[in-house]
């Protein structure tokens, strides 16, 4: 089977890769590009651990083919921090201890960043609905929701 050549942009950087026709974007990110921040939880779009943005739109990278990334702008968890400087969401997740095992965390951070871009002042209900597609089996969500609300508050001040 011949592979497909794809040119895309990942976190602002040009990227090129070869992939199989049935290979998901998640597998490309992790196995071909070494971007292992995005996690595979369910592989069927239920858990959100593989969340990325495509042209600014939040999606599950396990439900998208690598070949579809041609010419798109992909945003992953690796693009969240600015060098050594953590994104306010990352800082607040640490402050609020909004993670335990950490598998769901990259997905939550990418999804929360997308929320705050759409809605800088979300209510708790809006946060909970937006993040309904991100599953966490450790925290019970409360600390995550508090961390996102707190980060939103801080980002509005900035």
């Amino acid at each position: 089977m011949s592979q497909i050549h794809v040119s895309t942009t990942i976190n602002g950087d040009q990227a090129e890769f070869l992939c199989d026709a049935d290979e998901t974007l998640l597998d490309v990110l992790r196995d071909r590009l070494g971007l292992t921040g995005s996690k595979e939880g369910c592989g069927t779009g239920d858990c959100g651990a593989c969340s990325v943005t495509v042209d600014g739109r939040l999606v599950c990278s396990c439900l998208m083919l690598g070949a579809e990334a041609e010419g798109r702008e992909i945003g992953t968890i690796e693009g969240l921090a600015n060098g050594d400087e953590l994104h306010p969401l990352q800082t607040k997740f640490l402050e609020h201890a909004a993670l335990q095992c950490g598998i769901c965390t990259p997905g939550f951070l990418v999804a929360a960043k997308s929320l705050l871009e759409h809605n800088p002042k979300p209510t708790e209900t809006e946060v909970r609905y937006w993040l309904a597609g991100n599953l966490c089996r450790c925290t019970g969500y409360d600390k995550i929701v508090r961390a996102v609300m707190d980060a939103a508050k801080e980002m509005r001040k900035a």
């Binding site: 439900l63 041609e70 997308s114 309904a132």
Partner: protein, 287 residues
């Protein structure tokens, strides 16, 4: 397996027609990729329709609003005129899956997946939405309820695909709504669903209505007795009660882990009554 991303509908159709084995259309992929992963689908060629301009646009036409087959439901929710004109359809599409799924899932995909529990399908059928089906020789406009023939089965030929869906222009004083029951607040599949569309005259009397129920049979059910119960009335309590009873009577659900027959028959009526109340409010111009 091959992956193709044609630029025109014609090329997409040619790829499906020329496929040696099975060709599958990729819109949002939220069902197709899951099916591929589980081994339920093993297409020889995947035709990604997202590079086709006509399939990625929402366009006002003389007869209504045309939604491209690859338009994601998040894009629909952000389209003010669409959300205002066809709130029932937009809110039904908005119920499907998570924010992540919303970023990819489409009306045409929801329809062609053929699930009896598809949320957007009763809502589309209630307002008389028409799918534009394109094949190698001709294109045809087909009422949405004619597309699905049974669970997972559709009436499209191997070399046909849906290019867009027309949401027909609404007469003055019309309203539509869709409600579903799930055991939690988000991220689930309808146990029962009901869509109501109605039109009032200047005196507030219902002149036209459609009542469609979903997830309570192998296909959606057009509850004609439910619509009849509303037409000619002011959609008062008694009319809504009669419509509720008609929906419960028309439902032919199965027993499964998500709901019993009795529960589904009951709750689909309740949903239809409540959707009728919302549609009425909308027809009267209030939210």
């Amino acid at each position: 397996m091959r992956f193709e991303s044609p630029q025109t509908t014609k090329d997409a159709v040619a790829l499906l027609a020329g496929a040696k084995g099975k060709g599958r259309v990729l819109a949002g992929g939220t069902d197709l990729l899951v099916q591929m992963k589980s081994g339920m689908a093993a297409p020889d060629v995947i035709v990604d329709i997202k590079r086709i301009p006509a399939m990625k646009s929402i366009k006002a036409e003389k007869d209504g609003m045309r939604v491209g087959a690859a338009v994601a439901s998040a894009e629909m929710a952000e389209h003010a005129a669409l959300a205002k004109g066809w709130p029932g359809v937009v809110e039904a599409a908005d119920l499907i899956g998570s924010t992540q799924i919303q970023g990819r899932a489409t009306l045409a995909g929801n329809l062609c997946n053929g699930s009896p529990a598809a949320d957007s399908v009763p809502a589309m059928a209630a307002i008389g939405a028409k799918a534009r089906v394109v094949g190698p020789k001709k294109r045809r406009d087909v009422l949405v309820e004619k597309i699905v023939t049974g669970p997972g089965k559709i009436s499209l030929a191997k070399d046909e695909l849906i290019e867009s869906i027309l949401l027909p222009k609404r007469p003055p004083r019309s309203g539509d709504a869709y409600l579903r029951f799930i055991p939690r607040t988000e991220m689930d599949i309808a146990v029962a669903g009901a869509a109501v569309s109605l039109t009032l005259d200047t005196k507030g009397v219902c002149t036209d209505a459609r009542v469609i129920i979903g997830a309570v049979g192998p296909r959606i059910i057009d509850v004609k007795d439910g619509a009849k119960a509303l037409i000619g009335t002011k959609v008062d309590k008694a009319a809504l009660k009669a419509m509720e009873a008609a929906c419960s009577a028309a439902a032919t659900p199965i027993d499964d882990k998500r709901g019993t027959k009795e529960f589904r028959k009951h709750v689909v009526g309740v949903l239809a009554r409540r959707a009728g109340q919302i549609a009425l409010k909308r027809a009267k111009g209030s939210k």
